[in-house]
Symmetry: C2
Subunit: 392 residues, 2 copies
């Protein structure tokens, strides 16, 4: 065998049925995806704000085009690789929503020189100075937004820290461009019910609106006021003063989102198709070829009221089996069993039969795969194969 | 920007220093890797058995060639994608060590037709019949090994189940090829000290030797008797009756292996290079651009005596900071902090400074990356960039 007779990089093929696909693989229910997008878009329309979808969950131009209001954007990305890939596919309006490292500004400058309005975020004076310096070097004004801390979960300036906020704002206005303020209520993923989510959403709104007012009262510009997380986007009642909402995982949803009540299990559009490869009947186990390499190591439901193991098991049509989960996983093996304490009986599956597994966390599970196999309709016919990418 | 002026698939470039690499990225200390390989090879030489390295950790032909005793193998793989990729690079002797799904036999047959001695494993009569049927259809004899259960952790036939073992053996001998028996002491990853590991190693040995004797006494062939896990491979005292040992993660080692005493922290050859992007000084946090997307969601040390969070933090030269870990991680953010309860002080790192993070689980962390940046010597100069692959 030489490279002329055997090419391991054969392009991804499409198949017409789930039975014909190689397993494990990623299945995307496009009907559910469309419904999830329509639902959030209608909600934000009624609140009078625009959606700047986060593309870090999908990392696919085919999904991105369905998420964005126009082929040019707006959009949010989590890596410069996403910015470069989506730019190559025509997206022109993006926020790179991870605090900028000075060494990454060369790639930002390169994208801006190609006509992409790529905006960076930051929360320190050092970063603002680095953005100003890179702007001077390139003879442009790189736009940056100040990240605001609304709940203490990770990064950002607290609005009460006036001095820091103004020093960053002034540094950017003088040497670069102050595009606005942004925040993310990471704590909203902890759940707590609708009332808690209303509070998280209001905490997001009030933090950025307060920061924007502070900047403006000092004579600094602040055109964009951006908030966003999937839970708060689905619970906000009033977004006065906010200009846009960022959200990402809602496009597919997952068991973590269902566990905190942001969606129902039958809204989850992503699953991993797996094949049964064995049984340990005396232990009540079914063994599949879908281990953590295809499901991810994410155990996001482990601290929720209902622990879904490594995922909830469905038949090939996507109908859930009551209380049947991937109880444990090795690299390329999944162990399907009844949820501890449940009286559910294992489905009667034979070697070669197929199941679909709903993921704990769509961002993490999708990242383990190179493509989405897209199904639609009652038949769950596979109508397309959409590539996705990874890396930085 | 069009595709003529911007190509997102630019080949991976090499750099000459760790300071010049884009972050996050994967760093491989080739000196440590070489030492780990030499150590296990010497050990198995003294026990009189050959090494069939598992390539699922590395998924890189450059690493595989250093692991294998010859360019043709032998080797072990966990996916047919690995078998196909390594076959394209000249490997000719492989065990696909995950129970075979009947629908995958077409790809096995195709590889065998190209001159690759690819062996499958199975533990049910149904699978043996499917292998016999595929053999008849292709006019060949597909070799299969019977997976033996030595510790109840996952798959396999228990040797005491004589009837099942013999029925599988007879089905394969009549319609395909019975290549031998194999087992894997998954429970050995739980640790328990040297004495426990000696017992796990002996449990592996005695289970397959007993199964081999049973098959042979029934007049069936059993040329290969295969055991393997990284912990047992480093603790076995006597491998009488065993013909080969499979092990994989030892090539890089990781914090889980260090936590159960199979290696020292300074044997770990894999790390993720990260850049500081912020601080929350009042919380004692340093924020980096290395979140779970680059580290993986693996929390394998969470149940060990020392919980390493999402990884142990080192300076750019790979020297560990005492008790400084990645305490939490989001998709593209890592939060560095002192280990809970420790009096360690955070290192004085500024925005733009770099650190290296030792992973909980090398297989999972490596899988998040497309290449290894290879360093060697006191200078940690980057001497190569070795591509790696994923998928099935």
């Amino acid at each position: 065998m030489d490279s002329a007779t055997f090419d391991p990089t054969t392009p991804l093929a499409t198949a017409t049925t789930l039975e014909a696909l190689e397993t494990p693989c990623l299945v995307l229910d496009a009907d559910r995806m469309d419904r999830n997008i329509t639902r959030l878009r209608s909600r934000l329309d009624s609140l009078g704000v625009s959606l700047r979808p986060h593309l870090k969950t999908a990392k696919s131009i085919d999904v991105a085009r369905r998420l964005m209001s126009a082929p040019e954007g707006p959009a949010t990305v989590s890596t410069l690789k996403e910015a470069e890939q989506f730019a190559a596919d025509g997206v022109r309006d993006m926020i790179y929503a991870v605090g900028i490292a000075p060494a990454k500004l060369a790639r930002v400058t390169e994208l801006r020189a190609m006509g992409v309005d790529l905006v960076v975020i930051l929360d320190t004076v050092e970063q603002a100075k680095a953005v100003a310096e890179a702007s001077t070097d390139a003879g442009i004004r790189i736009p940056a937004m100040i990240e605001i801390d609304c709940d203490g979960h990770r990064s950002g300036v607290v609005p009460a820290n006036y001095a820091q906020l103004l020093e960053i704002g002034q540094t950017l206005t003088e040497g670069a461009e102050l595009r606005g303020v942004m925040t993310h209520a990471g704590d909203s993923y902890k759940g707590g019910g609708a009332e808690a989510q209303h509070r998280y959403a209001e905490a997001e709104r009030s933090a950025v609106v307060e920061a924007a007012q502070l900047l403006r009262s000092a004579g600094l510009p602040c055109p964009v006021v951006s908030v966003g997380s999937t839970p708060t986007a689905h619970h906000a009642k009033d977004l006065t003063g906010v200009t846009e909402v960022r959200a990402g995982v809602f496009v597919f949803f997952d068991l973590v989102m269902a566990g905190i009540g942001v969606c129902q299990v039958d809204d989850i559009g992503l699953s991993v198709l797996a094949t049964v490869i064995g049984h340990q009947r005396e232990k009540g186990w079914i063994i599949t070829d879908s281990g953590w390499m295809s499901l991810s190591r994410d155990r996001g439901t482990s601290k929720q009221a209902v622990d879904q193991g490594y995922g909830l098991v469905c038949d090939i049509q996507g109908n859930t089996y009551r209380d049947i989960i991937v109880a444990d996983a090795n690299q390329e093996h999944g162990i399907i069993a009844a949820r501890p304490g449940s009286d559910a009986r294992l489905p009667d599956l034979r070697v070669g039969d197929r199941v679909r597994i709903l993921p704990n966390h769509a961002c993490a599970t999708a990242a383990q795969h190179e493509a989405y196999h897209v199904v639609r309709g009652q038949s769950h016919a596979v109508e397309a194969c959409w590539p996705r990418f990874g890396g930085w």
